[in-house]
């Protein structure tokens, strides 16, 4: 079920009202049932895949807790391998298989294994990672294995974060299912406001920009100059609004019922460096990789070159997490390279800043850093969004084509208007982006949960009316799925 669908408009209030009406001891089963309904709205049969990983990890965690020494590790390995195998079969098998086939063809070997025709279960990477974090935490002794199968199943299946996160940790979410939540009007209103903000980002900004992005990337060779620049920049903003919008709706929906999910984005476009950017972007995933991949590899408490390898490896793996394709792998590695390059050149850049006296105007310097970080992110996303690597190469090499002359600029602007959004729609999209950046630039992440609690009533209501009216008049209502569902 999509958050931006009419079904969810009925589903959410119904579930929330019933949740508070039924006695506490039945709430977990009701929420589990509601989550099943939510998940089965996509492809019903795939609930069995989800059930399989739940049973494996639930059982493994119980065994891990009881076992000692090598057996303990053995159960962990069995659990991780089984859970990852499900992910591999559905998501990565065809990718590896096609690459092996190419190698076999190159050497003229006989390669009999055929590709699987399976549709990827929605949100598989998210709940796989959430399940893995549970067994790893139990293995590490940070969390006791959950005895109640239903509560554990709910931990994996809790509908607001089931298909696209935030990827929760057992320490944060599991105990909340035992808490008795009483309806709190202020908390519920805060949650609803956060949902409203999420819908604004998704429906007004992301889906509007998607029109241009889809048009440009469907055949980039038709364009040059401005449309390609717009496509690249808009996709960066679209991904953020789409995914952070989803996260806001998920966090808000859970908050209405009394659950507190972890934050997923902390104004990443205000980050002055790539390192800071990745601390603010998709925080639940990045921290997952940090805790379960990067730190076990040695983190930064090792030699410099090994540290660079750890960064590179972790980011390449995160690229592969996003999708089974060389484009995603390349994108992940490129992000890792940025971090390594920025660390290698840090001293040199600081010297340059002092030499050109940029450090004496810190506001301008920071602004420049923020813009540069954003542009760099959008540039790397070209690989992420392009259908093929040759398309990505074309976009990257034709961003400035035709912009040297007034005539070329005019032609470029005309083709931008023909890329799906007319002049007015384009202006509305830009105003909406400006509004979002203005609000998020002024409010802390905590305040966003309550939507301006410390502001006066005229400002607050003015903002609420603006957001609601933008949603009504400028929203794109075409049941467009969230980008991160595919992962």
């Amino acid at each position: 079920m999509l958050f931006n669908s009419v079904s969810f408009l009925i589903f959410f209030p119904t579930v929330t009202i019933l949740y508070f009406l039924i006695p506490h001891k039945y709430r977990w089963s009701f929420l589990l049932m509601a989550s099943c309904v939510f998940y089965m709205a996509f492809i019903p049969i795939y609930i069995l895949v989800l059930a399989l990983t739940i049973v494996i990890d639930y059982t493994a965690a119980l065994f891990i807790e009881k076992a000692e020494g090598k057996k303990r590790k053995g159960f962990l390995i069995v659990s991780v391998v089984s859970t990852c195998s499900v992910l591999f079969v559905f998501k990565y098998f065809n990718f590896f298989n096609s690459n092996l086939l190419r190698v076999a063809q190159f050497f003229h070997w006989n390669y009999p294994i055929e590709a699987l025709s399976l549709i990827l279960p929605i949100g598989l990477s998210f709940h796989t990672f959430q399940s893995l974090s549970y067994v790893i935490e139990v293995y590490r002794g940070n969390f006791k294995a959950e005895k109640h199968f239903g509560i554990y199943a709910l931990y994996v299946m809790f509908y607001p974060q089931l298909v696209a996160g935030p990827i929760e940790r057992p320490q944060n979410l599991l105990p909340q299912f035992y808490e008795k939540h009483i309806y709190d009007d202020q908390r519920a209103m805060g949650g609803l406001k956060l949902m409203l903000w999420g819908f604004f980002k998704k429906v007004v900004i992301a889906d509007k920009l998607a029109i241009v992005v889809n048009q440009v990337y469907s055949d980039p060779t038709q364009y040059a100059g401005l449309p390609l620049i717009a496509g690249a920049l808009f996709f960066g903003i679209q991904v953020y609004c789409d995914f952070s919008g989803y996260s806001d709706i998920a966090i808000g929906a859970a908050q209405v019922m009394g659950f507190r999910l972890r934050d997923n984005f902390n104004r990443p476009f205000h980050a002055p460096s790539s390192a800071e950017f990745w601390r603010r972007w998709h925080m639940s995933l990045i921290s997952w990789f940090r805790d379960y991949v990067y730190i076990p590899l040695g983190g930064n408490r090792i030699g410099e070159w090994r540290w660079y390898f750890n960064i590179f490896f972790t980011f390449t793996l995160s690229g592969l997490w996003h999708g089974a394709g060389w484009g995603y792998v390349l994108w992940g590695s490129l992000c890792g390279c940025h971090l390594i390059f920025s660390d290698l050149t840090k001293t040199f850049r600081e010297k340059c800043n002092r030499w050109i006296r940029l450090d004496r105007i810190p506001t301008f310097h920071k602004g420049f850093q923020i813009v540069f970080t954003f542009l760099l992110f959008c540039f790397t996303l070209i690989i992420f969004r392009s259908n093929t690597l040759s398309d990505a190469l074309y976009v990257m090499t034709h961003l400035g084509t035709g912009l040297g002359s007034l005539k070329g600029l005019k032609a470029s602007a005309t083709s931008l208007y023909n890329a799906g959004l007319d002049r007015y729609q384009l202006i509305i999209a830009l105003i909406s982006i400006g509004l979002m950046e203005w609000v998020e630039g002024r409010e802390s992440i905590q305040n966003m949960r309550e939507m301006f609690p410390n502001r006066n009533i005229i400002f607050r209501w003015g903002m609420y009316y603006t957001v609601i009216l933008f949603l009504i008049f400028f929203g794109e209502y075409n049941d467009q799925a969230f980008i991160y569902f595919q992962f």
Binding site: V6, W461, Y464, Y465, L469
Partner: protein, 328 residues
């Protein structure tokens, strides 16, 4: 009632008030012929025996007054942005159910007609003009009913035009005093100096819908005449429309339908006379009068004398041999 509840009531009352005012403002009718066209189709008064279908170029380009004769009543049911899929749905779900069967349909084709980006009108968007009994009959199709119901609210239906409305870009563009049987001439003028270079993106779905519509006419034994209204040639590059024209010609030929093409084949003074056009693709009042008279004389000549080939018009043998004259 607590302060919080009072605040909520006050907040939503203001929001409701804003929406009511917006609805009232956005419900102003910019196209006075639509309600009359829908009124005619749901409660026939003219009972036309020939109808005109198509999009804006036909709605503002063919005046039935100049085609009518004593025994022949013509009604122009063309609507702005109406592509083949709209016309198919409109014909099957509205027209066929409520209007007497005509003997002839003049269908206004255009080289852009299969491009969904241009011809994107939806039947549901016109639910404002539907009587309640029809609306309720759609209740069985829940999804359709939901869309129909939502489109009765002006602030939802017209929301895409909000900016244009706020900037006053949707001011009256037609001449209501010259309305006649669904036809209304365009009043505005402009955009003739700029050369357009539009390449149509033909949609398979639209092509299929057009074929289905023609099948429907054939099944109902309704004679069809395809007409392409003249466009202002100096404002247009012609090379990129060949594919669409080939497609329309093939369909007409395959089905042996009379196709009168005043845009690419039968070029007259109208095509180059600025005073005849409202913009690069729409005739104005003067142009529509001149063209409608020309169309009538051509139809008379073609259908009565069968001299089509001499005048550069493609005529299927069936019509020219039978000399059946549904018009004139």
């Amino acid at each position: 009632m607590s302060t919080r509840s009072r605040k909520k009531v006050f907040f939503f009352s203001i929001l409701f008030g804003i929406l009511v005012l917006m609805n009232f403002w956005m419900d102003r009718e910019l196209h006075p012929h639509y309600p009359l066209q829908y009124s005619e189709v749901f409660n026939p008064k003219v009972n036309a025996n020939a109808i005109i279908m198509g999009a804006s170029h036909t709605a503002h380009g063919i005046n039935p007054k100049h085609l009518e004769e004593d025994h022949l009543k013509i009604y122009n049911f063309s609507m702005d942005g109406a592509g083949p899929s709209f016309n198919l749905k409109w014909y099957k779900r509205i027209f066929q159910l409520h209007y007497p069967k005509p003997i002839c349909v003049i269908y206004g084709v255009h080289w852009l007609m299969f491009d969904e980006r241009v011809f994107h009108r939806k039947v549901e968007q016109d639910s404002k003009y539907f009587p309640y009994d029809y609306l309720l009959s759609e209740f069985s199709r829940l999804e359709a009913f939901k869309i129909l119901l939502l489109n009765r609210l002006a602030f939802i239906r017209e929301r895409k035009q909000l900016v244009e409305r706020l900037l006053g870009r949707t001011r009256q563009v037609v001449v209501p005093s010259k309305y006649y049987n669904g036809f209304i001439p365009y009043g505005r003028r402009g955009g003739l100096d700029r050369e357009r270079d539009i390449t149509p993106k033909n949609s398979e779905a639209e092509i299929r819908a057009f074929e289905q519509l023609l099948d429907e006419f054939e099944r109902s034994k309704i004679e069809v005449i395809l007409v392409q209204v003249p466009g202002y040639l100096p404002s247009r590059s012609g090379s990129n429309i060949e594919e669409s024209m080939k497609l329309i010609n093939e369909i007409a030929e395959k089905r042996r339908i009379l196709f009168l093409d005043y845009d690419t084949k039968r070029i007259t003074n109208i095509n180059t006379d600025r005073s005849m056009f409202s913009n690069w693709v729409h005739l104005n009042e003067k142009g529509s009068d001149a063209f409608s008279k020309l169309l009538k004389s051509d139809l008379e000549l073609l259908l009565r004398r069968g001299s089509a080939e001499d005048r550069g018009l493609s005529v299927p043998r069936r019509l020219s041999n039978e000399k059946k004259s549904p018009v004139g």
